[in-house]
Symmetry: C2
Subunit: 334 residues, 2 copies
């Protein structure tokens, strides 16, 4: 058998799909053959895979013959419709949509945190939501250091989380402003340029959004803490690519700021950027394009003995999506 | 005696000073005479007061003869240098800087919350920091409903909080981006366009910024709760004028989301904007230019029985500064 994997990238024209194609090359993922799928709208377009132009094929139930690994980032409807067909055809699916994340038979994986859980897969492995990944990265070493009791997370989410249409909205709205024109909201429910929208995904009856409930359910599943108290607020901000989260975390036993910093420094995939004297702290601008999530502003709570405040920024398209997906695929090789 | 007050606006060319001049007219404040002061740099410029052009005078120790009320928004150094001279000359000073806020002899006033405390003034009354005002507005009715135990506040602060130079930085950086030019950070320690800066004011040894410690000390003083546990994170965002704060507040006795909503609705200066089904919630874009602070996204904490999450947006230049200052001056008239 020739070496390397036969890969399908599903949703290849999307923001995450294109980052997936770039990262497969960047990480020298052993690719023997690559096929790119998308909806009928994109059929016949080409996408770049290194120096190659790959013609985009229309996704169908018969797309997965002779595919080893299918990386899905086409949205949850497409995953629900086609992932099981891919498994039936013999592929292992790494799904970046929300379709299977909370399914108890599907492992939900952040490789630095729960790689061992991947072994139990039955053909589908799920990649968490972007905000979940960036939030849970510093929570794991903190939990190991002092056992998490309660988490309050407030997100500042980039427009790339809403895909290429989200990026285009911020870009076009801002350009309209620069031309002195009236800004017409595109894509988001309101103008995002120079604004904040505390509304991502649909609202539930209790007032929380789907995005907020993803954060709660997924963090609990990844950490194996089904009862963990999590209080989420998710907000869209006029930033292009990286998500940031302000976190207040309370632990059963005291973790000092110094101990937390050491635990964060040791954890793979996290980089401590916490040097206030030199104006160094995580920001979207420096997290963009980086594989590591950056954590900083690490300080002890002023009123709660066993709590810490910190601030994390991570590239939503990389660790928040495409990179984490490829890392899951890498687990399948080993 | 002719009716009306003789007013000095100190820092008249700044963002807050100009809003003060507009609001004095808008609110029909009884002005008999108005003088505008600023630094030597602005001497001889004119500022608008209704239809009148007022020539800006250079601020000096002898500026306050025949002034009844001096509204200071020139920065804490200027307040420290000149506020006592103004009092000596017979004026009452309403100071919007941080110079006297934590001085036990100086009342720190948000008129809807602690107007009665203003009576004890000895010539100087302090106006809280903009972020404090917008944050404390919903905290007061919630405290009255269930007694506050702990507050976790994460701010999303507009560039206007850094004055006209802050507004110019966001504007010029964004215009440079639109022209395809490299963005050079102006004014802020890093680029603010399409970025987030978790750093406002100077860092202290414990890792908190001056802005964060203002929030803690000032909220405690305004509410008369010197021991209240407050966990602050303050972040500068690429928004022009209104500040927003995500708040998690725990109370001694349970306050349901319904009861909190009712308490917010009854409180003067607060407007409940909380209709998710119609995509209505507070946002900087709709809070800008409004006197009321807007509160929404009111929901019970998922893991802490006596806690609530909510989200507040308020115009930083109005209720966050100039309006609150004029409301304090109005207390002096009654």
């Amino acid at each position: 058998m020739a070496s390397g994997q036969r890969i399908a990238v599903v949703g290849a024209t999307g923001a995450v799909g294109q980052t997936t194609l770039r990262l497969l090359k960047e990480r020298n993922f052993p690719v023997r053959a690559l096929r790119a799928f998308a909806s009928a709208r994109s059929e016949g377009k080409t996408v770049k895979f290194g120096d190659d132009d790959i013609t985009v094929e229309r996704l169908g139930a018969d797309s997965f013959k002779d595919i080893d690994i299918a990386l899905f980032s086409a949205g949850s409807d497409q995953s629900r419709e086609f992932a099981r067909a891919a498994v039936k055809a013999g592929a292992v699916v790494v799904d970046k949509s929300s379709a299977f994340r909370m399914n108890p038979e599907v492992p939900l994986i952040v490789p630095e945190i729960n790689a061992a859980a991947a072994k139990a897969h039955r053909g589908i492995l799920a990649c968490p939501n972007c905000t979940t990944i960036v939030t849970v990265m510093p929570l794991k070493p903190l939990h190991d250091a002092g056992r998490l009791r309660r988490v309050i997370a407030t997100s500042f989410q980039a427009v790339s989380g809403a895909g290429v249409a989200g990026v285009a909205a911020l870009r076009e709205e801002t350009l309209a402003w620069a031309r002195g024109e009236k800004i017409e909201p595109r894509h988001f429910p309101h103008q995002i340029a120079f604004n904040l929208i505390p509304h991502i995904d649909k609202f539930g009856a209790d007032g929380y959004t789907g995005e907020e409930m993803k954060l709660v359910g997924e963090i609990r599943k990844i950490l194996g803490l089904p009862e963990l108290a999590i209080s989420p607020t998710t907000v869209r901000v006029p930033v292009f690519t990286a998500h940031s989260i302000a976190i207040n975390a309370e632990t059963e036993s005291k973790v000092t700021a110094t101990a937390a910093r050491a635990a964060f420094e040791r954890f793979p995939g996290l980089r401590v950027v916490d040097d206030p004297a030199h104006n160094r702290y995580p920001m979207p601008l420096i997290a963009e394009g980086q594989d590591d999530c950056m954590v900083g502003r690490i300080r002890e709570d002023l009123g709660c003995a066993n709590a810490l405040n910190f601030w994390v920024s991570g590239d939503q398209l990389r660790k928040g999506a495409a990179l984490n997906g490829i890392q899951i695929a890498e687990l399948l090789l080993s």
